[in-house]
């Protein structure tokens, strides 16, 4: 898997699971957003692991 892909996924996840996205989704739906973002992150990473070549 390529380094760039990992770093991209990591940065995306870091942003998605921190401020300001937490502030944007703040409210009673925040747990839903957090779990959805978390699950999506795992899914994206699993997908990237399958399709990205080693590197």
């Amino acid at each position: 898997m390529r380094r760039d892909v990992h770093v991209f996924v990591f940065v995306t996840g870091l942003l998605a699971l921190n401020w300001p996205f937490l502030k944007i989704f703040s409210g009673h739906n925040l747990p839903v957003y957090l779990f959805a973002a978390w699950a999506a992150f795992i899914g994206i990473h699993a997908l990237a692991s399958f399709i990205s070549p080693d590197g």
């Binding site: 996924v9 401020w19 925040l30 747990p31």
Partner: protein, 996 residues
């Protein structure tokens, strides 16, 4: 409620099951059918991260502060996305260096430092103790809850702790092999991960769907309750965004640097490709593990169970609803989470303590026969000690802190390892001193900002007014260090510990130098995933320079060159300054440039060179071979050059020594070579000739042999010494023009001065002519003698006459006529001889060939042999040729005389001349003896004769051949022995415009 013994039996039964699972896995591994070495078991073993903190503490945290418990799992999820970059590198380094603990890793990175390794081990032991305490506390609490007998909790705690320690020893310290992977243990841990996940999911499902109507119900109720702030981050919530980020960061580091995580993810990794799948399988496990945390926490709150026991909601909720089986399942889930952590953590800590503290201290006893026995038993004691230290922490401080608080203290402690660890594998500049300074500084801040307040809260530090004054000051308050207010305690501690850690690590590293060992290890660690670097990049010593020269130039040559450099720089091996080292390095690069080329030398000396050791060896061998080949090639080339130069000189000498003028010209007639003879021939020096147009330079040579288009062939030219009549200094030059093969449109010109040759030919021709005259002398004298005798007789008769007598007068008149006729005949003979004998001009004029032949026939009739020979001639008229008449007559005379000689006593000589196309053909045919075929090819050779000595010179026909050739004609002979001989001469006729 359960009886104590029942729970003990359940615990023992579970541990027996666990042991059997581990035993089975080990057995399969020994049989070569491992059920451990796969990414699924690897991922589940990583879930040892989920301890009783997760099982119980997350619910407690969610019930007290809301969503921030999630950061403990989202952090590792984020970190997992970088595992292929970071963890793979750590695994590879650890495998290569047989590293089994974090302290080993950090110590090895910084020059295999034992002191640094010991420091890390001490920090780890102190830092992890709260975490172990957390597990013990959770087990004791849940055991108490299940039995309902809080009074026996301490004894139970000791007993459980002892069992856990014993179990850890059984798994990890049965034998002494610090580097061995523990397949059975890992499989048991994976098994426990399944148990705890299943247990939590069952409890979560029970609460969510058994006690409530699903997620929506719970969330709707909590949203409308006083606990709604638990659903938010920032604002009214207790969880600020800073805290969220800090906890995320802490957990990211914890998943990497907790000793047990290092153990399962690095030491127990059997295949680095397992990391690929674990990168999303492990986060998926964490996600599932947390799905029901909020429902359980909110369920407990909504059911009015005290938030103070929220850590135990997972157990209390089924228990309070008389769900004994589910309670036991929940208990065993929590127990499995705690035991997994305790077993692996105590094993990891014991290995760390053994490797970094005990074994270095006992190194002097390594020769003792019972050393292994001592070591294994010390390790067992260390395991027990670490487990009981956790128990001590739980019993002393446990009442003051939640499970999460205790766990986060450990997270903060291990986060100190992140900098020397990560910087150590990505930055070569970090030094041992920097790492030690950073760790001590960070650890001090950790103690001061997190542990001291805990001690104060527990009352252990109360009673000291001075200490209280310091702790409560604005500047040195542990919770607001240097007046930094507004941060939660985790962010506060993390900020200061990391700041101090970073400042000291980088500051000290930049101000101190690595020793050789540190440099080597730094390169080895940093470049692990890259192809390995050669040490040349950071040449730190004179030895490395010498080794490089040996490596690329060979031992002998490299040694000589290196010694020369040292002498020229006056460098002493034992005391080399940086400046000298730099100069020596530059010198070495220059020397290597000379041997292997500047590019390769620069590459070798360059910092960024990236070559594997295999490639380095191959490159070294290749360069040596190339150097050797080049050296050989240079020698061969030098030899070839020398030979070529010799050959060139030899060739030039030949050309310069030739009695022949040689010049070469290009297609435009420009001279590019001019030999010495040309200088002598023309009087033009080489310097003046080179580059000049040959047509201009040779304009005094006539006729001009070079027209606008250069023609190849032979040219006979004359170079007059002065204008006007012929001079002895005039030169006759024969010029050969031929294409210069191998050169485009070039020509080679050879100039032959044949002046002397022509002079000799003329003399020879004259001599031959005289010889012919001599042969005619007898006949001529006879021809002259007869008329003279007649004249003499008549003169005598005339003297006695009387001129008054008529008869006498008539006789006198008749005699006068006769005498006059004789005198005319004599005069004609003398004139013809004189014409033949005189030295004529070499110039060619237009002559009538028939007349010349007829005149020669008359001359040859004087030969005495001519009396018996009938000469028949048949001359066509108007056969004009451009020739020298004397030479043509000489040719004809020689051939006719030879024919007469061949006919001996008599015969017939037929001479004819006729036109044949553009040529005149003269045939001399006799019926003499003929020529022997054996010698017919040699008759034109000079000095070849068949006549007896003194009767012939052998030059006659040779001269004839030369003359005819010189006139552009040809001569051939047909003869048959006994049947006569025929000579045929062909000469070009002159047309109106010149020679045809």
């Amino acid at each position: 409620m359960f009886q104590t013994y029942e729970l003990f039996l359940i615990i023992l039964g579970y541990m027996l099951l666990l042991f059997l699972v581990a035993y089975y896995a080990e057995k399969k591994e020994k049989e070569g059918a491992s059920i451990v070495s796969n990414p699924y078991v690897y991922s589940l073993s990583l879930a040892v991260y989920c301890t009783s903190w997760t099982f119980y503490g997350s619910v407690g945290k969610a019930a007290s502060s809301g969503l921030d418990f999630l950061t403990i799992y989202t952090g590792p999820t984020l970190m997992a996305s970088l595992w292929w970059i970071v963890l793979r590198k750590i695994v590879r380094i650890s495998k290569k260096h047989r590293i089994t603990t974090i302290s080993d890793f950090i110590g090895a990175r910084y020059g295999n430092s034992i002191s640094l390794s010991a420091l890390v081990a001490i920090i780890a032991v102190i830092g992890i103790t709260p975490y172990l305490g957390l597990q013990i506390k959770a087990i004791i609490n849940t055991f108490t809850i299940c039995t309902g007998h809080p009074e026996g909790g301490r004894f139970t705690g000791i007993l459980i702790t002892f069992f856990l320690g014993l179990f850890a020893i059984m798994f990890g310290a049965r034998r002494l092999d610090l580097s061995e992977r523990h397949g059975g243990l890992i499989f048991a841990i994976a098994f426990e991960s399944v148990i705890k996940l299943a247990a939590f999911l069952l409890v979560g499902a029970f609460v969510t769907y058994g006690l409530f109507n699903g997620f929506d119900d719970i969330f709707a109720r909590i949203s409308s309750s006083d606990f709604r702030t638990l659903l938010t981050v920032g604002g009214e919530s207790d969880v600020s965004h800073v805290k969220w980020f800090s906890l995320t960061l802490l957990s990211m580091m914890a998943i990497m640097f907790l000793p047990r995580q290092f153990h399962v993810s690095v030491v127990e990794n059997s295949n680095e490709n397992h990391i690929k799948k674990a990168m999303w399988l492990f986060p998926l496990y964490l996600l599932l593990m947390n799905v029901f945390v909020l429902p359980v926490a909110f369920g407990g709150l909504l059911l009015d169970i005290s938030p103070s026991v929220a850590d135990s909601y997972v157990l209390i909720l089924p228990l309070s609803h008389d769900k004994s089986l589910l309670t036991i399942i929940a208990f065993m889930g929590g127990f499995s989470a705690a035991t997994a952590m305790i077993i692996v953590e105590s094993l990891a800590l014991s290995t760390m303590v053994m490797n970094s503290l005990v074994i270095p201290a006992l190194y002097g006893l390594s020769e003792a026969r019972s050393f292994s026995f001592i070591i294994i038993n010390i390790k067992r004691l260390v395991i027990l000690a670490s487990v009981f230290s956790g128990f001590f922490f739980a019993t002393v401080f446990g009442d003051f802190y939640s499970l999460v608080d205790m766990g986060l203290k450990s997270f903060e402690a291990v986060s100190l390892f992140a900098l020397p660890f990560l910087a150590g594998i990505y930055w070569r500049g970090g030094t041992k001193k920097g790492a030690i300074a950073g760790l001590i500084g960070g650890f001090t801040v950790w103690l001061y900002t997190l542990i001291f307040p805990a001690l104060m809260r527990s009352g252990m530090l109360e009673g000291s007014p001075n200490l209280n004054a310091v702790f409560h000051s604005n500047f040195l308050s542990p919770t607001a260090l240097f007046g930094l207010h507004g941060l939660d305690k985790w962010s506060h501690s993390l900020f200061w510990s990391m700041t101090i850690n970073c400042l000291l690590y980088f500051g000290v590293s930049l101000m101190t130098r690595q020793n050789e060992e540190e440099t080597r290890q730094a390169i080895a660690f940093v470049e692990m995933l890259s192809p390995e670097r050669m040490p040349a990049g950071r040449i730190q010593s004179i030895k490395e320079i010498r080794n490089l020269m040996y490596q690329y130039m060979g031992q002998e040559e490299g040694s000589r060159a290196f010694d020369r450099l040292l002498q020229s720089r006056k460098i002493d091996h034992s005391n080399v300054s940086d400046r000298q080292l730099l100069a020596l390095r530059n010198d070495a690069r220059k020397v290597l440039s000379g041997a292997i080329g500047s590019s390769i030398a620069a590459l070798i000396m360059k910092d960024t060179i990236v070559l594997t050791r295999e490639e380095q060896r191959e490159l070294s061998d290749s360069i040596k071979n190339m150097t050797s080949s080049l050296r050989l090639s240079r020698q061969e080339l030098s030899e070839a050059n020398r030979q070529l130069a010799g050959l060139k000189e030899f060739s030039e000498r030949i050309i310069e020594s030739l009695p022949l003028g040689i010049t070469t010209i290009d297609k435009d007639g420009r001279i590019n070579y001019w030999n010495r003879y040309m200088e002598d021939l023309t009087g033009i020096r080489k310097d003046s000739a080179n580059g000049a147009d040959i047509r201009v330079l040779m304009k005094d040579i006539q006729p001009c042999f070079l027209g606008p288009d250069i023609q190849t062939g032979e040219f006979l030219c004359e170079r007059k010494s002065s204008p006007g009549p012929e001079s002895p200094d005039d030169q006759i030059i024969k010029i050969y023009v031929s294409p210069f093969k191998g050169y485009e449109k070039g020509y080679v010109l050879a100039f032959e001065d044949i002046t002397e040759k022509k002079r000799l030919e003329r003399e020879l021709s004259q001599t031959s002519k005289h010889a012919s005259l001599g042969r005619l002398t007898a006949g001529v004298s006879h021809e002259i003698g007869n008329p003279l005798a007649s004249i003499s007789s008549l003169v005598q008769e005339l003297g006695s006459l009387r001129f008054d007598r008529t008869d006498d007068a008539n006789f006198a008149r008749q005699s006068y006529k006769v005498i006059t006729g004789h005198l005319e005949r004599i005069a004609r003979i003398v004139r013809s001889l004189g014409d033949f004998a005189r030295v004529g001009s070499p110039e060619k004029t237009t002559i009538d060939l028939g007349e010349v032949i007829e005149r020669t026939i008359q001359l040859v009739k004087y030969d005495r042999k001519a009396k018996n020979i009938r000469i028949l001639s048949d001359m066509s008229e108007g056969l004009k040729i451009k020739a020298n008449p004397d030479q043509i007559q000489q040719v004809a005379l020689n051939i006719m005389l030879n024919s007469m000689d061949a006919m001996g006593d008599g015969g017939e000589l037929r001479i004819s001349a006729r036109r044949d196309g553009g040529q005149a053909e003269v045939t001399f045919s006799d019926n003499g003896a003929g020529i022997d075929p054996a010698i017919i090819d040699r008759i034109f050779d000079p000095f070849f004769t068949t006549k007896s000595l003194g009767k012939g010179t052998g030059l006659g026909l040779s001269i004839c051949y030369g003359i005819i050739n010189d006139h552009g004609g040809g001569i051939k002979v047909n003869s048959k022995k006994g049947d006569g001989t025929e000579f045929i001469i062909r000469l070009p006729l002159v047309s109106n415009g010149g020679i045809t």
